[in-house]
């Protein structure tokens, strides 16, 4: 791009961003590095403890279950939620644009509700014997009328996953659907004429030509999964989102409880760094893999 304009205009336009980001991003960011090496009691008092916060996390069984749970949730999200979203997008892709728009609206609608409200709604839907979901499972699978989804440890994670599917399948479908619209139809047609099956066309032609969106959605899903918080918090509100035997604990509910409820912001910062590190590493690996696949 050639030089459009000289003078102070761009700096003037950027100044609100630069000022706000310096104060409310860079300063807290630096403080988050410092804070991780302190033990604090509320925002006012603190003591330097070196790497003790991280050492504590290394040996804390509750933190380990939080890490394990969150990782399982992220894996399930990528392996179940995204294929479902892609499947729906493929089914809708063929229809006329008005029909497509109508169903897109329906499938997207849970996303307007937000995690807290979805958690509250689903806590009621999971009520044993009377909830819509427990009754539904009884009607279709002959099982589950008395299931305590939110109290029985082996059922807690599946309950969170079910609610998250309702919330996010349509959201991701919107991205896949938009990408499918840009795929070159003649390439698919050519492959079909060459005798490729529907699955082969999808796997070798359609999917590669929308790989940018797929990589974007996978990264966003992983990032979102590792920040799962409000959904378990409201579903399992009696135990601050931990659930019986910590079966529903996630990294952020752990951070929320030990950092903000107990007042050890230092430990909270250390947990934050672990999450940031995980997200950063996974995003980097995914971008690398996507590049390799391109070559």
């Amino acid at each position: 791009m050639k030089v459009r304009h000289k003078g102070p205009a761009p700096y003037l336009f950027l100044s609100p961003y630069l000022i706000l980001i310096s104060i409310f991003f860079i300063v807290p960011f630096v403080n988050a590095i410092v804070l991780a090496f302190y033990e604090t009691n509320g925002p006012r008092s603190r003591a330097f403890v070196g790497l003790d916060n991280f050492r504590f996390l290394l040996h804390d069984g509750i933190f380990h279950s939080a890490l394990l749970n969150t990782t399982i949730f992220a894996l399930v999200s990528v392996c179940v939620q995204l294929p479902l979203a892609m499947g729906l997008a493929l089914l809708l892709n063929g229809g006329s644009s008005r029909v497509r728009g109508f169903f897109r609206l329906i499938f997207y609608s849970p996303n307007l509700v937000g995690q807290v409200l979805v958690g509250i709604l689903f806590a009621a839907l999971f009520t044993p014997r009377y909830g819509l979901i427990t009754r539904g499972f009884q009607a279709f699978f002959h099982w589950g009328l008395e299931a305590h989804w939110l109290l029985d440890p082996p059922l807690i994670m599946p309950a969170i996953v079910l609610a998250s599917l309702w919330l996010w399948v349509g959201f991701n479908m919107v991205y896949f659907l938009a990408a499918l619209q840009t795929v070159d139809k003649s390439l698919e047609e050519a492959a079909r004429i060459d005798g490729a099956s529907a699955w082969q066309v999808f796997w070798h032609v359609t999917l590669p030509s929308m790989r940018h969106v797929v990589v974007f959605v996978v990264i966003m899903t992983v990032i979102g999964s590792y920040q799962l918080f409000e959904l378990p918090l409201t579903l399992l509100s009696e135990s601050y989102g931990f659930g019986a035997k910590n079966a529903g604990i996630t990294l952020i509910t752990y951070l929320n409880f030990y950092g903000f409820r107990s007042g050890d912001l230092g430990l909270g910062s250390a947990v934050g760094w672990v999450i940031a590190l995980i997200i950063f590493t996974i995003s980097l690996i995914q971008i690398r893999v996507a590049r390799l696949a391109e070559d």
Partner: protein
């Protein structure tokens, strides 16, 4: 019951397979069956919620959806809403539900307006100007989006306390007045504004800030609408930050207070479900008006790369 359901579904499938011999029609039928079943699953909780907020007492559990019309007088009422609108004790007298609604509205609209203004200014500068450090700045912005916001929450809370903004609506709004994601969305939109129009306005003696207001902003209105909804949804439904930053009863937002009600009225689900249903209305109304711009704006960044 379950076996009966499967039997009926099985019979329908067999009938359709026998009836629709040619594969194209069978495939189309299967496709619509799956789409409609999916749509039913998605809509079921909403459909369940509508009667649930009116059912009172034992009726809440006695009927899955609506009770029969003849029993409405004794089973359906506005009791849940009356209970919800009762004041909760605060420091300065009772606090009513509409006050939480007002707090949420103030936070969501003010934050959205400021985010649109500051993010579009930065996005315009990034799209249409060459200046020193632009590459580094773009890289920094991309990198900053990778940092999870929870990492900053603890130090940010400390900062808000130090600034004396803790337990005030301003304390929630001020740290999130600009959105890096918004900057990128607006940069995307501003790139397609033709340079000739900007130059023509300059020749006519329009000031740079005048060009932004009179030429650029009208042209990127679809993106403004899209980002308006993204931002409003995020701030209306925001929970973590308001939950930590706000303490006194009369400052709380709707999601925060609903989370409290959830603990209080465990056995009377109708009450907090009524609040949940009310909280869904403002985003739904906004979405209804902006949905076309929303979908195209939201996905344009991802699809164009």
């Amino acid at each position: 019951m379950g076996i009966l359901h499967f039997a009926i579904i099985g019979l329908v499938v067999v009938y359709v397979v026998l009836r629709v011999r040619d594969r194209d029609r069978a495939r189309r039928f299967g496709r619509w069956a799956v789409i409609l079943a999916g749509a039913a699953l998605v809509l079921a909780p909403f459909v369940w919620l509508v009667p649930a907020v009116f059912k009172t007492g034992a009726a809440f559990n006695d009927y899955v959806f609506f009770p029969p019309l003849s029993k409405w007088p004794e089973t359906m009422s506005l009791w849940n809403f009356r209970k919800l609108f009762e004041g909760r004790p605060g420091l300065r007298g009772p606090v009513y539900f509409w006050e939480y609604f007002l707090n949420s509205t103030v936070i969501a609209t003010v934050t959205t307006t400021l985010q649109i203004f500051f993010s579009s200014l930065a996005g315009y500068a990034l799209a249409k100007f060459e200046f020193r450090g632009k590459g580094a700045l773009t890289l920094f912005m991309l990198g900053s989006m990778m940092i999870p916001s929870v990492l900053l929450l603890a130090p940010l809370y400390k900062m808000v306390v130090d600034l004396g903004l803790v337990d005030s609506l301003a304390g929630v709004i001020v740290p999130i007045m600009v959105s890096t994601y918004g900057c990128f969305l607006f940069r995307q939109a501003c790139v397609s504004v033709p340079n000739e129009m900007l130059d023509a306005a300059r020749l006519d003696g329009c000031s740079e800030i005048g060009i932004y207001f009179r030429v650029v902003m009208p042209l990127v209105r679809p993106m403004t609408a899209a980002f308006c909804l993204v931002s409003f949804l995020a701030n209306w439904n925001a929970f973590f930050q308001p939950n930590i930053f706000l303490h006194s009863e009369d400052n709380l937002t709707v999601p925060v207070v609903l989370n409290l009600l959830l603990g209080m009225y465990r056995m009377k689900q109708g009450i907090f479900l009524a609040g949940t249903a009310l909280a869904m209305i403002p985003p739904a109304v906004l979405f209804f008006f902006l949905q076309k711009e929303f979908i195209s704006g939201l996905t344009s960044g991802a699809v164009k790369g």
